[in-house]
Symmetry: C3
Subunit: 308 residues, 3 copies
Amino acid sequence: MKLRHVVESQQFTLPMLMELFQIAGQMEKVLARGGTQDYQSKIMASLFYEPSTRTRLSFESAMLRLGGKILSTENARTFSSVASGESLADTIRVLGDFADVIVLRHDEVGGAKRAAAVSSVPVVNAGDGKGGQHPTQALLDLYTIYKERGAIEGLKIAIAGDLAVGRTARSLSYLLGKFDRVMIYFVAPDVLQMKSDLLDHLAEHDVWFALESDFSKILPEVDVLYQTRIERERLGDRADQYDEIARSYFIDAAKVARMKEGSIILHPLPRLNEIAPEVDGDAHAAYFRQTRNGIAVRMALLATVLES
Amino acid sequence: MKLRHVVESQQFTLPMLMELFQIAGQMEKVLARGGTQDYQSKIMASLFYEPSTRTRLSFESAMLRLGGKILSTENARTFSSVASGESLADTIRVLGDFADVIVLRHDEVGGAKRAAAVSSVPVVNAGDGKGGQHPTQALLDLYTIYKERGAIEGLKIAIAGDLAVGRTARSLSYLLGKFDRVMIYFVAPDVLQMKSDLLDHLAEHDVWFALESDFSKILPEVDVLYQTRIERERLGDRADQYDEIARSYFIDAAKVARMKEGSIILHPLPRLNEIAPEVDGDAHAAYFRQTRNGIAVRMALLATVLES
Amino acid sequence: MKLRHVVESQQFTLPMLMELFQIAGQMEKVLARGGTQDYQSKIMASLFYEPSTRTRLSFESAMLRLGGKILSTENARTFSSVASGESLADTIRVLGDFADVIVLRHDEVGGAKRAAAVSSVPVVNAGDGKGGQHPTQALLDLYTIYKERGAIEGLKIAIAGDLAVGRTARSLSYLLGKFDRVMIYFVAPDVLQMKSDLLDHLAEHDVWFALESDFSKILPEVDVLYQTRIERERLGDRADQYDEIARSYFIDAAKVARMKEGSIILHPLPRLNEIAPEVDGDAHAAYFRQTRNGIAVRMALLATVLES
C-alpha cells in the first residue's frame, strides 16, 4: 500500500483498510515480541498546536515500539516560532528537515491538509479543529470492531453522545459507510445530533442510518455501542436538562445486561461519567482493548508512510 | 529480588536493601562503561502531576543509560485527559498499554498506591503529595551513606531543616530505622519538627531518636548530617525569626570545621541558602556525589521491576 | 580539533572553522545515509531557560541523527529547581551527572560562559540573553555561505534588519571578520543599527564595513543578503514609520530581480513579513537550505565536543 499522508478518513478505500488491518495484525505480533528496531534511523516529530497528551503518547509509543526516535513538542502554541507569527507552511517546511514524519494536531479544520500540501515528509493528522477529522482514532475504532466482531459488514452500530462536534464520531461514520449493509444509529439529544453534511454524505452513498434520541430503546438492538461524552455547556438552552440526559445516556451494569450477547461497548476515552467503572470488567467492555489496538494501528500507519 | 512496584520505603526489607545496593554498585560499573543497550525494547513513561524536573530527568537519564526509551509528560495537570476530569485509574490503565513501567509523581498522598493497584505494569513512586513519600530519593540517600561510610549500622545521623512536610526526611527515617544501633537526631525549629506518626513508628520499632532544635550543638556529634531547606512561610507566626533560624542552620566552612573527621553532609537538592558554595569542595560535602548515586540507584530499581 | 565548550563565535579560529566545515560536510553524507548509531551511548540534555522550539528541535534532531539520546526541558523557568531559586551553577553540576553534553539556552548574557566554567561535561551555547551570542546559528549561517558560494573571502555581505539586539547578526559579524577582504554592510534604520562595541571590534581587526539605511541601494551590490526581522515596538519614537520601513526592507520578487546573479538570501527564520513567499522558489532563496545545514553543523559540533 502506498500512503503518503494520513489526512482524512475518506482517503482510505476498502482494500486499503483491509491491508491496514492486516499490517496492524502483524504489528500486534511485533508488540508481543517486545517491538522491533527496524526503524531506528527514523525520527517522528510530534507537532501539537493544542495539548492532547493521550494521542501524543499513543503515537510516540507506536514510534518507539518500531525502534524509531522522537522529537516532541507538547503545546506548539508556545512553539516560539509559531507564537511569533510564523505560518504553518514555514513551520512544516523546517520540521521536514528535522524529522522523517510529522504527526500534527492542529487547531483549525483543514490544518492537516494545508500541512501535507507543503511538507517534504509524510504528515499524519492527529486531529484538526473542532468538527474536523481525527482519522487515526477512527481507524483504530474500526480495527477494534473488526477484531472484536470478525467483520464490519452487516453490523448495527450506535454512535451516541455529542455528535455535533465529535471529530471521532464523524471520522468513524465516514469509514463505516464504506462497508456493506452497515446500519448506523446516531443517538443524541436533538441539539447535539450529527450535522447534515455528514448525513447527506451517507445518504448519497446509500448508507442506512437513523436519528434517535432514546438511548434506552436502541441499547438492545445494536452490535456495537460507540459512546462519547456529553458536556453540560454544549446543551445550550437545555443545560438544565443535563442531569436527566446524562443519566439516560449513562451506561451501568443494569443497562449492559440489556445488550445483545457478543455486542461491544467502545469509547474514545477519556470518559468522565458516561460509563460506570463497574462495567470495566464486563466482556462487553472493549474500550481498554480499543486503546491498546491504537498502538498497533498507529505502528501500521507510521511504518506504511515511512516506507512509501 | 522480586519487585513489582516501588510505592513506599517501608516495603523494603533489610535483605532487599542490601541486594539493591549490590545491583546499584553494578550499575555504577555499567555507567562507567557508558551504559548498556540491554533494555532497548523497554519504554518508561514519566507521568508527573506536578513538575519536578530534576527527579524526572534523573529517572529519564537512568532509563536511557539502561538503553531504554522514554515517554515524557512534564506537567500532567495539563495532560488533556486529566484536565478533563479523567480518573487516575483510567490514566494509569491506558499508560500501561503505552509503556513497560510508569514513573509517577502525584499531588496527593497515596497516589502511587492507588496507581499500583490498577496498573498492568510496574509503578515507581517519584513523590506523592505533601507529607507523602519519595522512596527512590530515600533509597539513594541511604545508598550514599552506605557507600561513603561502608555501613549504616551504628551511625549517628542528624536530619535537619523542615521535617514536618519533608517527604525525603520521612522516607529516609523509615529506612534508617531498619538498621541496628542507628541514632537519629531530628534537628528542627519546634514548628517544623518531625510529626508524631513517624516518631511513634520509630518508637514501636525500638529505634533511638532525639528531638533537637540546636543545630550547632549537634554538629560535632554526628556521622551524617542530612540538611534540608527551611522556608520563611513555613514558620507560621515565627516568620519574623526566619533570618535568625536560617543563619543558625546555615552550613559554612566554619561550621564544617567543627564536624567529625569522616562525617558527611547530604542534601536532597536543590539548595537555596542552606549550604555555602565554599563548602562544595570540602571532603565532607557529599551532596553532589549523592545526586550521581541517584542514577545508579534508579537504574537498579528500574532494571529490577522490569525483570520481575 | 579539540573543542571543550561552544560559548561564543570568537573562540573559533580560521583553521577551526575550516575543519568544522569539513566535518559538517561529512555529516551531510551521514544524513544522506539516514544517520549513524555511533553515539548511541551518549545523552544530550536540552536546558532551555526560555522557549526556542526551533533551535531545541534542531539540536535534538542532530543528536538523534548521531544515534544519541535526549533529555529535554522545554522551558527551564518552570524547571522546579530553578523556580525555587537554584543557582545556574548547581543546575549545571547536577545535569552533568545526567548527560554527556548540555545544550543551554539562557536568558542572561554570559550565561553559557558561567555554565561552562563549572560544568563537568561540554556546554553548547544555544543563545544567551538579548544582545548575547548564538554561535551555532552563526556557524550554520557561515557554513551556508561557504557551501553556496565556495568561499567566504572577498564577499560583499549585507546584514539587514534589527541589528541592535540581533544575537545572530552579532555572532555572524564576529565570524565574517576573520576572513580576508570581506566587506560588510550593516543595513538598518538608525535606531536599530549595529552597536559600537561590535563595530569597534571590526575596526580593530581591519575589517571593512559600512553603515547603511537604504536597503534598496545596497541590494544590487551584494553577494549575500542576510535578512532579519524588524519589530514595530523596537522602533521607539519612530514606530509610526514602521509600515514604511517594513515595506522598504521587504524582499519580494521585484527586489530579487535586482540582485546579482549567484547572490543568495539568508534568514535565520522564523520570518514574519520580511520575505514574500513568492521568493521561496527562487534560486537566490537559500534560507530553507540554511535550516537544513543547521542539522549537519550541529551534528559536527556535538560529535566534536563529545570526542574531545
